[in-house]
């Protein structure tokens, strides 16, 4: 039991669900020995939540359970939860879980005279005794309302049923379909009043997210927010971003970015291991190339890199990077680099996140490159993106992964500041790539906007590609003007010739030394 002794929960004992995050929100789980109502529309994950509650109880907490289902039969349920990695068949054989499918067919049933639901009680009691159950799921008992016409009897019997469950100290999960005017279609909340959890499956801009909220928890404090949750290959996980502690270890080790001059700008040693770096820039400023360069450098050190490419296919990316002297293919062949090229918006942000989690757990990379994060959401102002990223970054940090994110932004300055404000605060290092346009010529420029915990250059550098890779060149400042591209070359030659007084002697000295 995770109930704390120091506060109110001394009287309220809780039964852990074993669902990631849910026990955190509820301060230890569902009220032990009482029924909890789980409400939601169709396809919200009610059954999955209930099933995981039973399975985790049986497997992890030594509490056998009964799953009484009214809508799908045992085989269907077993098949459905197998996708979460739960083997109900095995648990049934081990007498840790009892399944009972209650089928009600209105057309087969004629009602005449008085009756009660003792048959249901007997079945439930029998199942409970068979496995010595401590947990019970009724999914979803509302089906009775459509199967039986005498709702007065039914309501009286439901009241008796919940009393019966409480008397036997069963920790129960009752699922219910969400109603139009009341919480549930048939007002189950009237009977189950101790704890109510609401599930929601929302689609915004064609992208779906699942959310969970603890509406009510009598006698206990609980998180009141709506928390996104995922149904992944290992069951449900509720993601209480606001309660995640910032307790990941901070590495003092530095790793090179693969661009020597950039490392120089970052205190001479590159970025911290396990930190996160954001590279934002307008189209065509070289974001992907910087990302690829970091990946290349990591592979060259013998590390493993996972690259999520959302704009190009793996082959296309490899070809394009080859043109600037970065050979990604050899790392793929050596198994150090995995490129996942996909369209994340196809699946929905949350589901894609699950996919990323699984990929990271599988491959155990040292470096993850996401190119670009702006493609994780169709809508740039998506409120969901920030919490999602926050969770992703936390997850990567806890997995000891150095993360590099690129982000596409508009070309103008104002839009840039606004569009990045959400995610940039999550990043340890932030590079900005921009286009400088002057005198009919466009040049790429790079600057380090921030880099936590290290001295870094405040200067804008010119950013040049060649078939030998990426290079940074100090911009040439003369007579209060910043010169780039041809202008810089021209001015440099002039300076060398001694005609113009140099404004940045250091810069020129370096250039000279290089030639």
């Amino acid at each position: 039991m995770t109930a704390k002794k120091d506060n109110v929960s001394a009287t309220l004992v809780k039964a852990p669900t074993g669902i990631d995050g849910l026990d955190e929100i509820t301060g230890g789980g569902l009220p032990r020995g009482r029924p909890t109502l789980v409400v939601g529309g169709p396809g919200c994950g009610k059954t999955m939540l209930a099933a995981e509650f039973i399975v985790q109880g049986a497997v992890r907490y030594g509490e056998p359970g009964v799953f009484m289902m009214f809508e799908e039969n045992s085989d269907e349920l077993t098949a459905n939860v197998r996708s979460l990695g739960f083997d109900l068949g095995k648990l049934t054989k081990q007498k840790k879980v009892a399944l009972d499918y209650v089928r009600i067919e209105r057309s087969e049933i004629e009602e005449t005279g008085e009756y009660d639901l003792d048959g249901l009680f007997i079945r439930l009691a029998h199942a409970v005794e068979t496995v010595n159950a401590k947990r019970v799921v009724l999914d979803t008992i509302e089906a009775l309302f459509s199967g039986l016409s005498d709702h007065a009897v039914l309501r009286a019997e439901l009241r008796r049923l919940f009393r019966w469950l409480k008397d036997r100290g069963m920790t129960a999960v009752i699922t219910g379909e969400r109603g139009a005017n009341s919480l549930t279609r048939y007002g189950l909340e009237e009977y189950v009043a101790d704890c109510v959890i609401m599930l929601d499956h929302r689609v915004t801009e064609q992208v779906s997210t699942r959310r969970l909220r603890v509406v009510k928890y009598r006698g206990s404090a609980h998180g009141t927010n709506e928390y996104p949750f995922l149904i992944g290959t290992e069951g449900l996980s509720v993601l209480p971003i606001t309660s995640l502690r910032l307790d990941h270890a901070a590495s003092a080790e530095r790793v090179a970015t693969g661009i020597a001059k950039l490392d120089q700008m970052l205190g001479g040693k590159g970025i911290y291991r396990d930190s996160s770096m954001l590279i934002s820039g307008a189209p065509g400023t070289g974001k992907s190339s910087v990302g690829a360069s970091v990946a290349d450098a990591a592979c060259a050190r013998g590390e493993r890199v996972l690259l999520f490419a959302y704009e190009e296919s793996a082959a296309q990316l490899a070809r394009n990077m080859r043109s600037i002297g970065i050979d990604l293919e050899r790392w793929v062949k050596k198994g150090r680099l995995h490129i996942h090229a996909s369209r994340p918006t196809l699946q929905g942000l949350e589901q894609h996140l699950v996919f990323m989690y699984d990929a990271v757990r599988d491959f155990r990379p040292n470096v993850v490159v996401v190119d670009p994060i702006s493609n994780l959401s169709l809508d740039r102002d998506d409120m969901g993106l920030k919490p999602t990223l926050m969770r992703l970054i936390d997850f990567l940090k806890q997995s000891h992964v150095t993360a590099v994110f690129t982000s596409l932004i508009g070309d103008s300055g104002a839009a840039f500041a606004e569009s990045q404000i959400g995610v940039s605060s999550l990043m340890d290092t932030w590079l900005l790539l921009s286009n400088l346009e002057a005198n009919g010529e466009r040049t790429r420029a790079l600057q380090v906007i921030k880099s936590r915990g290290m001295p870094h250059s405040n200067q804008v550098r010119e950013f040049v590609f060649s078939d030998k890779g990426i290079d940074l060149i100090d911009v040439f400042v003369t007579e209060g003007r910043v010169l780039t591209g041809r202008m810089r070359l021209g001015a440099q030659h002039a300076t060398v010739a001694g005609n113009v007084a140099p404004a940045a002697p250091g810069a020129i000295a370096k250039r000279k030394a290089k030639r």
């Binding site: 009972d100 499918y101 209650v102 089928r103 009600i104 067919e105 087969e108 049933i109 004629e110 009602e111 005449t112 005279g113 008085e114 009756y115 009660d116 639901l117 003792d118 048959g119 249901l120 007997i122 079945r123 009691a125 029998h126 009775l144 199967g147 039986l148």
Partner: protein, 108 residues
């Protein structure tokens, strides 16, 4: 309380298949179940004399049997034969509805 009106429960005595095989599920000896059995016997004698058998199953004694016939409510009368299976729940006090439910043509 295992008793039967026409034959012993679970094993038809006659060699010929009985035309109407009925099964009544109850839970203990309650007023409702007693009434249901009484009503059923009366009805069968009136309309199906010599052509029926009733098996009474007490779920308190045999809880396992509840799942097989998908019993929720008690008393429940199940028409096992002729097929398809029909169910009538309640104390069977309304003869008219029981006959409709069993699909028995009432004697004119």
């Amino acid at each position: 309380m295992k008793k039967s009106a026409a034959v012993e429960p679970g094993k038809p005595v006659r060699a010929v298949k009985v035309e109407w095989q009925l099964r009544l599920y109850v839970a203990g000896q309650t007023a409702k179940s007693a009434a249901a059995l009484r009503n059923l016997q009366k009805l069968c004698e009136t309309h199906l004399a010599g052509r029926y058998e009733i098996e009474v199953i007490d779920l308190l004694v045999n809880p396992k049997l509840a799942a097989g016939d998908q019993i929720l409510a008690v008393p429940t009368l199940v028409r096992k034969f002729p097929e398809p299976i029909r169910k009538i729940i309640g104390d069977l006090s309304n003869e008219e509805r029981v006959l409709v439910g069993l699909d028995v043509k009432p004697v004119p």
